[in-house]
Symmetry: C2
Amino acid sequence: MRVLSKQVTGYMEKSSWIRRMFEAGMELKKKYGAEAVCDFSLGNPDLPPPPEVGVALREIAEEVCRPFGLGYMPNFGYPFVRESLAGEISKEQGVPITAQDLVITCGAAGAINTVYRAVLEPGDEVVCPAPYFVEYGFYAENHGGSLRPVPTNPTDFSLDLSAMDAAITDKTRVVLINSPNNPTGRVYTLAELKGLTDILLRHNKGRERPIFLIADEPYRFLAYDGAVVPSLLPLYPYTVVVSSFSKNLSLAGARVGYALINPDMPEKTQMHDGIVLANRILGFVNAPALAQLLVHKAAGSQVDVGRYQGRRDAMAKVLTETGYTFAKPSGAFYFFPQAPGGDDVRFVNLLLEEKILGVPGSGFGAPGYFRLAFCVAQEVINRSREGFARAMAKVS
Amino acid sequence: MRVLSKQVTGYMEKSSWIRRMFEAGMELKKKYGAEAVCDFSLGNPDLPPPPEVGVALREIAEEVCRPFGLGYMPNFGYPFVRESLAGEISKEQGVPITAQDLVITCGAAGAINTVYRAVLEPGDEVVCPAPYFVEYGFYAENHGGSLRPVPTNPTDFSLDLSAMDAAITDKTRVVLINSPNNPTGRVYTLAELKGLTDILLRHNKGRERPIFLIADEPYRFLAYDGAVVPSLLPLYPYTVVVSSFSKNLSLAGARVGYALINPDMPEKTQMHDGIVLANRILGFVNAPALAQLLVHKAAGSQVDVGRYQGRRDAMAKVLTETGYTFAKPSGAFYFFPQAPGGDDVRFVNLLLEEKILGVPGSGFGAPGYFRLAFCVAQEVINRSREGFARAMAKVS
């Protein structure tokens, strides 16, 4: 009998490219040993959580075996954690925010789903620059919406503002921006963002329902060469920032992040209450208690950004010397080079023959490119040089 | 402008009775002091997590500050945690299950939402005996479905099998059973459950899509006087058990539970993969890492059931001596007495005048009753006697 819904059955058949590469990689590693494979397919940070995380957990261990020590709490999270996060985030955004502007969530993925549950009506569209994080399409469809990707400029992945403008219609409920970007490493400039928010302000006029700007910022801390990640809060009142501690504290599996409602949003209280309700009824109930306590106690610490910068430079060197064309990433831990020969799926398969794992750009709405995640040991990057050179030679 | 969707705006206006009582309680406690109030409104276990939880956390603290220590994992959870849970659950259910039958989730609430995301089509119905847990309606509506409550027998809340039979139509995709029950404390007997699954087996014949039976069992460990909670797995192949460690380890805020697919389900692999995908795309990604490690290491321990039994007996004594009519709960930590005078909202307000907090049955699809959660100190139960007597006197 048919156990899954038609939509989910369709999803299963498509599966994701990241997953397919993951499975191909497992096979390669089984066959040749993990050391023989250069795995750039996953954005799973390999740096250990900073030592403050261990210290925090030891403290938590002494405190929780008391009544309600790990019990239910308000659906927006522990009030004292929200308070301390508000302080941290005010510094990061350069804008004063209060605890009441925050909902602590099950990571940024949980935050996006929760915001969508609160605001989307059936048929609403989410406009998003492409290439984009592969899960974005599912998140919109979970709540009756759909994703409308808009290509960026092909050389540097900067926003194509007139294309964004043209894509916004009466159906648009959300514009979703991810900077520093996965998969391109692009950090949008203040000029680009100002251009975008001017467009949104214009479209908002006379509408019964505002267009929200969701800024997905888990890589905010990870910008190189002094690149600045501008805050969207001063530019547009209907901004919601979503983020997580998955990357800066290397705890992606612990599932903690937040949704930050712009303190300038006139309906911010209503928006907050709606997001809190959505967080409850979607079954998150509250962000995981232990992870909340952890980010509270380890606040201010983070992994060594210098190590990621060193890897980025090493990767850029390997790719340049072996003849690849790419925009050097200003943030996050991804390269998104052009696929030699133009066919990304074919080229990723050539890399596979060299025991190098990448992900075709097709999986990010951008055929003709491929993604390399450099959250791996520098030794792996150096070792990959010959394989990259041989794959290139096969195409030329 | 209108920031929330129409549906969520409607939810906000209804709000929940539990929440209203919570707010009324906050006010009372502020005015008279927490010690003066008898708060039976919340099912938030007050027993501390067992000492094994602290021990486990101390071990975890020593282990996580290494590469991938808290990183991403397969979306179904840590393989070794799934393995050990499978062993535990096989004993509880009296049926051998394997790790491949399990998806570790963000509590039972996360599990139900994840299963619904995988199987519901727009317009599908979830049939559920009433009274029922207030969130069940939201969970169905999150995924395009709706809840169809079916009254139980009014004296003992046993299943009304012919009413259940009559409620099942072509639209029915799920029958949802919660035993031991919140809010009634009812433990369904093997005869009732056999009656129900016979009905489901009959309805399933000739259908393209099966009717799933979801067994929501977070209170399985909490049955009194030797009451047995029969497993539904041997009775019906399309059973999915959902549960959590919120109550047996007192860690409701930590958010960990599971969905268990019946090993007898012919399409179990497809079902598993669909639930894992749903867990990923709804933004849970994986069940919180720290809580997974915790239940793994603290496996086999639980809070002292004897203390809950003592409180149940004390509460039964208070309610009997003050003249209330109720079915003595065989499990969970709730009483669901008849509201004297018949109007549950009015009676709960009378209790409020006595600084006693309960929840009207209307909030559980059962007007004319009210819920008392006895996961509170025995002293509170004893102290409530006079208030219960006075409220009763006001009605008589």
